[in-house]
Symmetry: C2
Subunit: 255 residues, 2 copies
């Protein structure tokens, strides 16, 4: 579930000011690109951090292997037609101009008013192939995972954003906007009709952020979820489940 | 949006008892199959009926052409990997045993306690190729439209049900259960982790039905939607949108 624009938290007491920490008044270069199988270890860590933030680690079952198998299958479908990950990277030097036949990376720069201490800079060093050319400086700061959905009223596909996440030390710098904008821009490029995601009703900061981005929060709809054993119950031959009862006798009338 | 288990409504005063109406105490045969491009006119009518029920006709923009183009493209992806429509048909005679390389139709029968008058039986006569062999008797009674979603916590795909709809005269006969069960069973066959959909919070009959089916309603999550002009705003070159403002001067610092 989405956790962008998470309520800001104070820096962890354990945060170490690394030599690479960004000095105040500096410029950081950002890149949003399509993730590849090489990025799975970082994606796994990011999802886990999101589970910690949402206090839902008891639901966290993903492994690097299961993520790789499901997000980056051996014969991948065309870009954007299935599960898609945008990875957000930051660097103190500009990213090289690269070409990607499926998606041209989005390059921007941001001005940093306050120093950023990234205690996990080394664990999140980018695995991008071109990272050598920029001196191994790039760090993975966040991601968005999305996939096509469909509106029958519009008769158009859209995108559903399952997750949008920025690591704690990089929040409140407009990076969530960069990720959300990248998905929305891609949707318009494809002629899609909607971009949707979900938010926790108590996360007023996130709701304010999303509304500022032009989104409407739908107050009346609730999510229904069939999972775990309740879903597994349907794995048995469906003739064993009583679907049809007589209105008169309450007797099973399944064929 | 889903509208299954809609609150039952009294039969329309305009309902005509056709000669084909089902007598009390009779058996009806049901079939759930993958829809094809030939079914688009019926799917279009069903979606419109759903919009009427939800009082959302002002949002209804689908045409048979736009549905055909988006649901049944010329080079369709493998079954169940994209937008998928299950069509529910009813007949007073058994459906022929057919084979479908992608999905074996689900055949059942239900016992009818009360007569059913279907005033639209002719408009909803099935377009299935094998309908001739059963005397043109089969009628389309409902549909479910669903597509893959993805849980990062489970690192597994699932299904999201955008719509599940049964025509008014066929409600309260367990047919919504048949459709929902068909999607859930398909999810388990594919090793998927979740089936999700949404419900209006005031639709207590639907909520009770879904809970009876094993689903949990998640009370805290709200849907965010970016659509129409708010989405189109992202179609312009994103460098024209200010993403990054200086915390000190409120000046645009976008690159």
């Amino acid at each position: 579930m989405a956790a962008a624009a998470a309520p800001p938290q104070p820096p962890s007491a354990a945060a170490i000011t690394l030599p690479e920490s960004t000095p105040s008044g500096d410029t950081l270069f950002t890149r949003i690109r399509l993730a590849t199988r090489d990025d799975v270890p970082h994606i796994h860590k990011l999802i886990h951090q999101m589970a910690v933030f949402e206090r839902l680690t008891h639901l966290f079952e993903a492994t690097t292997d299961s993520l790789a198998a499901t997000l980056f299958p051996p014969n991948p479908p065309p870009s954007f037609t299935s599960f898609t990950v945008f990875l957000l990277e930051l660097s103190s030097v500009p990213f090289p101009a690269t070409t990607d036949r499926n998606f041209a990376p989005i390059l921007k720069s941001i001005h940093i008013d306050l120093p950023i201490d990234d205690p996990e800079r080394r664990e999140f060093r980018s695995n991008a192939g071109d990272v050598q050319t920029i001196g191994n400086d790039a760090a993975v700061a966040g991601f968005a995972l999305f996939f096509p959905n469909y509106s029958t009223f519009l008769a158009k596909p859209g995108f559903y954003i399952e997750d949008i996440f920025v690591r704690e030390c990089y929040r409140r710098k407009g990076l969530g906007k960069l990720l959300l904008s990248a998905v929305a821009t891609q949707a318009t490029k494809m002629g899609y009709g909607r971009v949707e995601w979900v938010v926790l009703d108590w996360n007023v900061n996130a709701i304010a952020f999303y509304e500022q981005m032009g989104a409407k929060v739908l107050p009346e709809w609730r999510i229904c979820r069939l999972t775990g054993e309740a879903l597994e119950a349907y794995a048995t031959d469906s003739s064993h489940i009583c679907f049809i009862k007589s209105l008169q006798s309450d007797k099973c009338l399944c064929s």
